[in-house]
Symmetry: C2
Subunit: 374 residues, 2 copies
């Protein structure tokens, strides 16, 4: 059961794919900056050429590191050898729900059964130090939701994640990695990951060889929720990674489901808290399947803003204008709207200056149009 | 902190109290029938006189057993000796919330600290075979809700109930009994009950000497919820007595709170189910205290229909009219509205015939204006 009918999409040429890869692998370029650069410069090739000058204007003290053509070629070759498909946002194989999130990765590397990406997905995540009961229940849920036709998405972590993957290996399971395909974490789950590939897949936005660090996991979590119609949290302590996934799911407009637990069990603090905030209570698979049934038929609601070549802006910011905008910024987060108002510059000029600062590694974006200097 | 300002109420004369007691202790007279009889006949004394004839017309095969003056006097004397106050609906000591339920007992027997009846109450009930964690959490909740100024109401059962009473003995706890004051169940909790009397009370609508049977417990549960602003269910299996209390609380417009638990723990099935149906999730006492705070100031919303002397109906049903109404009844429950429509009798006449049948022990009322023949 394919999730929507957007199968007819664009297809990158080999040359374009190389440019896209170089751009997203360049210093200080993330998914949002990637999209802004493409819009600002009119395409990936032009963005690659403009990048060093933009970063210099933003105040970069050393020249911006742009990913070389050779490095990108080497990554694509290695990916091909390892059976990894490198799929661009907008291509027909790119998962339909994932392309709707506003920081969708421009490129994903997928190993395994590509057709699984076209099926509807449910994320199932939870505590690494899950209780025996939590692990058992995660398995029960994953099996039944899997048998109902959904691919189970999770993070390959110990505890709940592993149980969810294991129980849905036969029906389809996608592990989203925080590092490169050759840097499976935890290493002991490499055999489990191989088992998933026959009916499911491994997916990451990170380059081969990338060893995941702490901050890569929350970043990865947005893909777990972004791929899915809904996220089920099985056990989660307060301030746990699973709650980050739940928050991202809410921001992305995904359904959030939580399994209740005893108030005296710290592993239930997070899920009980989610239920208090309005998450759907899950005590059996039917709670999830029933709630998603009505959504299933609907195509994703927010149309993707395609990073298509657009017109370059009329003019570059004048240097005093840039100084005025930078002077309004500091470590305290401020709204871009306020910057426009206070600087008396046009929104396009403010956006360009922020892009320059970002490429220079000097800007932090907090979401919701809020920025600060690093 | 008194719950409302209805302290100024009527006071029965000794003679009236005796009549009320005789009437409620007579055969086939429950709280609802009591109220109907008073309204129908114009007072308790007149109702006692009319009762045998009404039951006969309703088809009673043996003469209706009316409680004798001597039996009622003996009960009041024994109650006095045991320090039990016999309080009538409408009297100032009668708990304000309890008088608002539509089957409020006309008389309650209270032993202990009468002033506790004037304080705001929270019911805390749950499984008899509660887990260690459930018992511990019930105690925690009862202590903190008690310290916040609420009297804790429960049913003196093993498990959650006992833990709730124990933890609130020092701040005020009311045990509602399913039998007479001299028939404490379970007997092993008699010492616990004595502990409660210093700051709280034991309360029942049943006569002295009454040994509680199975069906007396659900009947008792309506008083637990009826006394309280809200009911907290700590652990409850499917189809348990605690769920009956929760259902009654909903029917009475009380808040329902439930403590979540693992879906794999059968003792959490009932509470998780309540949460799915909209009960407020409780993981700490503040969840209860915070939710009740806004209600506390408000007087009970539904004004009590006082069983005051009213005019007797214009005429008795003619015998063919009675036959026509009885013919429309059977073991299948039917609405009183439908009876009025189909019999082409007046609502007053239909109500009178139903009262006769009830006194003859031939009618069952299902609530919501639905009745059937026994």
């Amino acid at each position: 059961m394919p999730d929507d009918d957007s199968a007819a999409g664009m297809r990158l040429s080999d040359e374009q794919r190389l440019d896209w890869l170089r751009l997203i692998r360049s210093e200080n370029v993330g998914p949002r900056t990637f999209r802004m650069l493409i819009n600002h410069c009119g395409g990936a090739r032009a963005a690659l050429e403009a990048l060093p000058e933009l970063a210099r204007r933003g105040g970069a003290t050393t020249p911006a590191r742009v990913c070389s053509r050779e490095d990108a070629e080497r990554e694509l070759e290695r990916a091909q050898r390892l059976g990894i498909a490198v799929i661009a946002l907008g291509e027909p194989e790119y998962p339909a729900r994932l392309r709707m999130i506003d920081d969708a990765p421009p490129l994903i590397g997928v190993r395994g059964t590509l057709s699984a990406l076209a099926r509807p997905m449910v994320a199932l995540v939870g505590a690494r130090n899950a209780s025996a009961v939590g692990v058992k229940f995660a398995g029960l849920l994953a099996r039944e939701i899997g048998e109902a036709g959904y691919v189970i998405v999770s993070g390959l972590a110990r505890g709940v994640d592993a149980a969810a993957h294991q129980a849905s290996a036969a029906t389809g399971s996608i592990a989203v990695l925080a590092g490169g395909h050759d840097q499976v974490y935890p290493a002991e789950h490499a055999p489990l990951l191989e088992q998933l590939l026959e009916h499911g897949a491994a997916l990451t936005e990170m380059p081969l060889g990338w060893e995941p660090r702490g901050r890569d996991f929350p970043r990865r979590n947005r893909l777990i929720s972004g791929l899915s119609l809904g996220v089920v949290i099985v056990e989660a302590a307060r301030r746990s990674g699973s709650l980050i996934t739940a928050r991202m799911a809410l921001e992305q407009g995904r359904e959030v489901f939580a399994v209740p637990g005893s108030p005296l069990d710290p592993r239930a603090e997070g899920t009980n808290g989610l239920i208090k905030q309005g998450a759907t209570v899950v005590t059996e698979a039917a709670d999830v399947i029933g709630a998603l049934q009505p959504i299933l038929g609907r195509p994703p609601e927010i149309p993707a803003e395609e990073p298509e070549p657009g017109p370059a802006p009329q003019r570059e910011p004048a240097s005093d204008e840039r100084q005025r905008i930078v002077a309004l910024l500091g470590p305290t987060p401020v709204g871009i709207d306020d910057l426009v108002r206070l600087s008396r510059s046009s929104p396009a000029i403010v956006r360009t200056v922020l892009l320059e600062l970002e490429l220079a590694g000097r800007l932090e974006r907090h979401g919701g149009g809020i920025v600060s200097l690093v």
